[in-house]
């Protein structure tokens, strides 16, 4: 999976449930990542993380922290400075 070493990926650990835990897998030369958790247009959490090449970082989101927010669409936006990727769930 580290072939050609110029890509990275983000995904929810649990596709079907309401869990927002996600993982960034890094197969690129970039090591500095930033993620934002958005509730609709609002930033709910933001953090910088470092992930070495060919490593992955699992980020656990505390479910209690987002339990009572009004926003339905929770989007996780990750950037490496140049590229941006996002994943989202639309929760009831």
């Amino acid at each position: 999976m580290n072939y050609q070493k110029n890509w990275w990926v983000v995904y929810f650990e649990n596709p079907s449930g309401s869990s927002l835990n996600f993982t960034i897998e890094n197969h690129s030369k970039e090591t500095a990542f930033n993620y934002k958790i958005m509730g609709d247009e609002n930033i709910l959490e933001e953090k910088n993380i470092s992930i070495k090449n060919n490593r992955q970082q699992k980020i656990n989101i505390d479910p209690v922290a987002f339990e009572n927010i009004p926003e339905r669409k929770i989007t996780i936006i990750i950037t490496d400075g140049n590229n941006k990727k996002e994943i989202y769930k639309i929760l009831n």
């Binding site: 999976m1 072939y3 050609q4 110029n6 890509w7 990275w8 990926v9 983000v10 995904y11 929810f12 649990n14 596709p15 079907s16 897998e25 197969h27 669409k73 590229n83 990727k85 996002e86 994943i87 989202y88 769930k89 639309i90």
Partner: protein, 641 residues
């Protein structure tokens, strides 16, 4: 190391010991021929051994396959040891196998150049990505995982009472067992996984041996000519380094066109054995020829059909050629047919087909779909220009010259002897040209371009003969037609044209096919979904824009049609291939009423698509969660609403 060792055990040992058992210690084959025939023979023998093993109810495992090969080797060696040493046949073959120093250098240079060009192209395609190879490797993996001969079935979307459902399993006629067993055997013995370089490497080897097969066939066909070796070397050149990538060469290797590639190895060698059998009136050659023919029928129906037609035409032409002495000819053939090796083989083949394994295309009456009027546009024949580009202009030009000259020679000598080399080559190219250009005349419905690709093999031999004949005659009697001083420049000019055409074709075909990173991304997304397969009831993926998508099913191994997929658009338009539009609509317009019904009926809750092409329509709706995102691949989840 384990992989290469298993290649030796699976693709050399059975064929080699079989040759020893059949021909004993006679030096009938030189070392190159032994290597090529052992390789091709092994493909056939492994198929038959595994089919017998499967019929006996023994599961395919590393141990069972190795034990079977070991037992077969022991039996063959025992037969070999019982045969007396015979050396009376040494002279003829040794003469054909002795090359001058220049010829040997030319052969080595051509083979090395061929390998270099093909390797250069395949470097980019070594990562498994092609659609056909993915389809085939699903079955090979199925054989490895279940340890059994597979039922070639798939489940399609069907309409029932106004709803869509995944129907019951229906037979597929597109696959033949001989395309899959060798890969299963190698994987089981070596432990190597299918999503690796190994399938392409095996196909690459088969392709190289197929080219060498043309070399030994040309050598045998023209054995009576003093130029036989030069014709064979030139044939090798015309099929090797030039036009080395275009189909049916490396494009077929990288593209995973397994049946055709094996067929292109077996067909020339089948002719080789028949030529030797009928010329030398040797029942053992006929026995091996029949075995190779049977191998074709268990590996590739199209090549087998072509072989059958060429063989029938060859028999008819041979009888016509020797009409006055037809009784003696038929008696000599019957003597061979009613010999112990041939009769015992025919009994074996009959019992095998009836009680061990009948090829799927015979069980499903798929043959009837090939016979008759061509309906699909791509079956309705090529233009002469398309045919010329498919087989290569210089090969066609010199091939036509070759067949005309051979025809004249045949006509002159028709009363003296049977010119098998002309009859086979003529029948071979005549049928290919007819089916490719005017399929209605023959009454078959086969993709015209695919059948035209077969033409490169007989045309390479014919072109080599034509080239050699023209220049050797000009060299000897040239004064009548051309000044001797101009002969060399003319040779250079023509050679330049041949090399330039072939190299230009290589350059055109050497374009990158699949971006390795995109392939890896598809595999990663598949791995992600398969690791969470309990959360996906049914998955849909795209075929049009996803790279290496046909390999996704290898991560699940639930059904040949799992995940279901959106096919190329023309498949929905021609009214033949796709009779439903759910798979098209669910990706192209996921929020439409039709799509919503399809999603609900089919219980699809996972969708894998190309991010850059198909993201917008999924983002527009709130019915999907974007749960996975890489550079090129997105996965969507459709929750229960």
């Amino acid at each position: 190391m384990a992989f290469y060792l298993s290649v030796g055990i699976v693709l050399f040992l059975p064929g080699y010991v079989f040759l020893l058992a059949v021909f004993g210690k006679k030096k009938i084959f030189g070392n190159i021929k032994k290597l090529i025939i052992s390789f091709a023979g092994s493909i056939i023998l492994i198929d038959f051994l595994m089919l017998l093993l499967g019929k006996a109810g023994i599961s395919f495992t590393r141990f069972s396959i190795l034990a079977t090969i070991g037992l077969f080797t022991a039996v063959c060696l025992a037969i070999y040891c019982f045969r007396k040493k015979q050396s009376e046949d040494e002279t003829q073959e040794n003469k054909l196998d002795k090359f001058s120093k220049n010829q040997a250098v030319a052969i080595i240079a051509i083979v090395v150049l061929t390998i270099l060009i093909k390797t250069f192209y395949l470097t980019d395609t070594i990562l498994p990505s092609s659609t056909d190879l993915g389809h085939h490797m699903y079955w090979s993996k199925m054989i490895s995982e279940t340890g059994k001969i597979p039922d070639y079935v798939q489940k399609d979307i069907v309409s029932q009472d106004g709803n869509f459902i995944i129907g019951s399993a229906k037979p597929i006629s597109d696959f033949i067992i001989g395309e899959h067993l060798i890969f299963s055997a190698i994987s089981l013995i070596s432990g190597i996984g299918y999503i690796s370089y190994f399938p392409v490497i095996v196909l690459y080897l088969i392709n190289i041996f197929g080219i060498l097969g043309i070399f030994i066939l040309a050598l045998r066909l023209f054995e009576k000519s003093r130029h036989s070796k030069n014709i064979a070397i030139l044939s090798l050149f015309l099929i090797g380094p030039i036009f080395a990538i275009a189909p049916p060469q490396s494009k077929y290797t990288g593209g995973g066109v397994i049946g055709n590639t094996i067929g292109n190895l077996l067909l020339p060698l089948t002719f080789y054995f028949y030529v030797r059998a009928f010329r030398e009136k040797n029942a053992f050659f006929l026995f091996v020829g029949l075995l190779f023919s049977m191998g074709l029928f268990y590996t590739h129906h199209l090549t087998a059909l072509l072989f059958l037609m060429v063989f029938a035409l060859t028999v008819v032409f041979s009888l016509l050629n020797n009409f006055k002495d037809i009784k003696n000819l038929v008696v000599s053939w019957l003597k061979m047919i009613f010999s112990a090796p041939v009769i015992s083989f025919l009994v074996f083949a009959g019992l095998f087909a009836l009680f061990v394994y009948t090829p799927t295309y015979l069980q499903n009456q798929a043959v009837s779909t090939v016979i008759g009027e061509a309906v699909k546009q791509e079956h309705q024949g090529l233009t002469l220009t398309q045919f010329k580009f498919t087989v290569g202009e210089p090969r066609l030009a010199f091939g036509i010259i070759g067949i005309i000259i051979l025809g004249i020679i045949f006509w002159k000598h028709r009363k003296n002897q049977i010119e098998y080399h002309f009859i086979i080559l003529f029948s071979w190219i005549l049928l290919i040209a007819l089916i490719a250009l005017k399929p209605d005349l023959v009454g078959v419905s086969i993709p015209s371009a695919r059948i035209a690709n077969y033409g490169v093999y007989p045309l390479s031999i014919l072109a080599a003969f034509g080239f050699m004949y023209v220049f050797s005659r000009l060299k000897n009697d040239g004064g009548l037609f051309i000044k001797k001083s101009l002969l060399f420049p003319a040779l250079i000019l023509v050679s330049t044209f041949v090399i330039f055409s072939g190299s230009y074709d290589n350059a055109q075909n050497a374009k990158k096919t699949a971006d390795p990173q995109k392939v890896v991304e598809t595999f990663h997304a598949s791995q992600y979904a398969s690791a969470r397969k309990d959360q996906f009831q049914q998955i849909l993926h795209d075929h049009i824009y996803l790279t290496a998508d046909s390999w996704i099913k290898l991560f699940f191994m639930r059904d040949y049609n799992f995940p279901i997929y959106r096919a190329n658009l023309d498949r929905y338009e021609n009214g033949i291939d796709r009779k439903e539009t759910c798979t098209l609509s669910m990706i192209s317009n996921p929020d439409s009423p039709e799509s919503i019904k399809c999603f609900e009926n089919l219980k699809i809750n996972g969708i894998i698509v190309n991010k850059k092409i198909d993201e917008p329509q999924f983002r527009k709706t709130e019915n999907f969660w974007q749960i996975y995102s890489s550079e090129d691949v997105n996965i969507y989840y459709r929750p229960q609403l």
